[in-house]
Amino acid sequence: MTPPLLKVEDLRIALAGDGVTYNAVEGVSFEIGRGEAFGLVGESGCGKSITALSVMGLLRRPLSLGGGRIVLDGQEIQDVPAAEMRRLRGKRIAMIFQEPMTALNPLSPVGRQIAEMFVLHQGAGWSEAMDRAEDALRQVRVPSPERRIRDYPHQLSGGMRQRVMIAIALACGPDLLVADEPTTALDVTVQAEIIDLIAELCAAKGTAVLMISHDLGLVANMCKRVAVMYAGRIVESQVADAIFARPSHPYTQGLIDSLPRLGERSRRGRQRLREITGVVPSIQAYPAGCRFNPRCPAVTDICRTNVPEATSLPADGLVRCHHHG
């Protein structure tokens, strides 16, 4: 078996606050193969985004890497010097952010913001870089790119801006694209276009994708494998199809039940979508044992005291639940 492109092992992210250090993320491990699309799913505040930032080496105070290993293509990158990390960032691992409205510099033409990538990583001159920025815009299917490169972000729609972000991220042909909720801020009709674009371009270039979303349906469509995070831990990880067919963790089951599906409701004779009661606990107040226990419909005493170990599932899957099997 070929070694994975990205291997995250026992990742711990520390949150410093008021003299106490909390673990915002702990024991997170996953692997992404070359050209593979991997999904990380969970509610807001479960630690998905900071997991992505830690892979990019972009954690900032009060967050910091507390432990674990991040291996990119055989090289440990969790504590390489800043200058070396900068050469990897953008060139080998690139990132798309959630908010295309604010993620681009409002005072700089979008063409220039793409061209920066060629200047930074490939030593291109500005005029050559601008030509290539135009090509990059064409690839993400922005109409009349020769005019658009001179536009400022405020002159573009949200969807167009996210295309620009994709053009920036894929400019230097990275091995891994980290997409942090790339469609959350967009119109529903535009969402599908953007996801298709990311999937298509990455497939064409053999770029692996770490897709982060709260939308299980969206992730399952695009990714081969999916991990579900809850309160800073991965609770289940499976092949995408299997997650829908046989969800093994009560939380995953809850997520799937809360998705609207055509025809399902009337067939089951239910009028309302089922919700997961309660909210994600704050980092300062993670419960002992299984962190899902206050919201879990199948909770028993052991869940309140013992952290569940990982149980293997078929096809490299795993689940962390006392009641599995």
């Binding site: 990019m56 972009l58 200058a83 050469r87 953008g90 409002p106 920066e116 930074l120 405020h154």
Partner: protein, 311 residues
């Protein structure tokens, strides 16, 4: 661009009219006049007939509205009237005073921008460092100082003790005489600029697009040069404009203190003597300066920030 300019200039006339009206009103409720002042200056009393003749001559007995209308009409022709005190045309008196005032204000603002913006930048790039602490303590002190007291201290230290610079006066109009009053006048805006710049840069450093820039693999220096500077500048320029505009008015105290022959000291002297046409002229000059600077700031916005386009 021209549209912005045109629109701003169209605002100048009504603003000036309003200011003139306000000054007229103030002087009409103020007790005493130029002539009663002359009568009460402690020397022999004036002949009532002379006083009566002077009042007529200066038009002080005319109804307020009539005087106002006359003044506006004359100003529109470029005639600001004749000084009661010196019997010279106000325009002529002002023309000798504008350049020294302008020089003082420009020097003070240059000092404020160079020192204030630099300190603010350094402080923001190293929050919590000694340079941050030192410059912010300096900024708070600078804001709280009275110009008058600070000017006196400058004189004491650099003129009296060290004897590096002349203590007051215009001299030959060279740099040596300019330094102390410019610093005294510039320290307030400098302090404000240091604080604003620090806040603006910190604000921009936390923006999403700076995170994007970092994710591109840029060095922190490039991030600042390519993405932070310009964005912070937009915020800084607002404060520069406001401070710059009002500096001519603030200069009154410093000009008086350093015996600087500018518009401000002319105005103070004229107020004491109820020399109304001169005071009017001075105030008009200060307001005009404020409006011009504001217009320039608006133009600067358009150049720097592509989001601002006036329809």
């Amino acid at each position: 661009m021209l549209l912005v300019l045109g629109r701003r200039l169209a605002n100048v006339v009504p603003t000036m009219l309003a200011v003139v009206a306000l000054v007229f009103l103030l002087f009409s409720v103020l007790p005493g006049s130029f002539i009663s002042g002359m009568n009460e200056d402690g020397r022999s009393a004036m002949d009532p007939a002379v006083m009566e003749r002077m009042r007529k001559e200066m038009g002080l007995d005319d109804p307020l509205l009539e005087r106002f209308a006359k003044y506006v009409a004359n100003t529109a022709r470029g005639d600001l009237g004749t000084s009661f005190r010196t019997r010279e045309p106000v325009t002529k008196m002002l023309s000798g005073r504008i350049w020294p005032s302008l020089k003082l204000v420009l020097a003070a603002m240059t000092f404020a921008i160079l020192v204030g913006v630099t300190l603010g930048f350094l402080a923001a790039l190293r929050p919590g460092s000694w340079i941050d602490t030192a410059s912010m303590v300096g900024a708070i002190s600078g804001l709280s100082l009275s110009q008058f007291w600070f000017g006196l201290m400058l004189m004491y230290l650099f003129a009296l003790k060290l004897q590096w610079l002349p203590s007051f006066g215009y001299g030959d109009g060279g740099l040596r005489n300019l330094v102390l009053p410019a610093i005294a006048l510039g320290v307030g805006p400098m302090a404000l600029l240091a604080r604003t710049t620090r806040a603006a840069v910190l604000d921009v450093l936390n923006a999403d697009f700076v995170r994007t820039a970092r994710s591109k693999g840029m060095s922190e220096r490039r991030v600042v040069e390519w993405h932070v500077l310009r964005n912070a500048l937009v915020l800084v320029i607002t404060i520069v404009g406001l401070q710059f505009g009002s500096l001519m008015g603030q200069a009154v105290v410093v000009e008086k203190l350093f015996a600087w022959p500018g518009v401000g000291s002319l105005m103070v002297d004229s107020v004491f003597q109820r020399d109304m046409p001169t005071v009017q002229g001075c105030i008009l000059m200060i307001v005009l300066f404020f409006l011009v600077i504001n217009t320039l700031v608006d133009l600067a916005y358009v150049v720097i920030d592509p989001r601002i386009r006036y329809q």
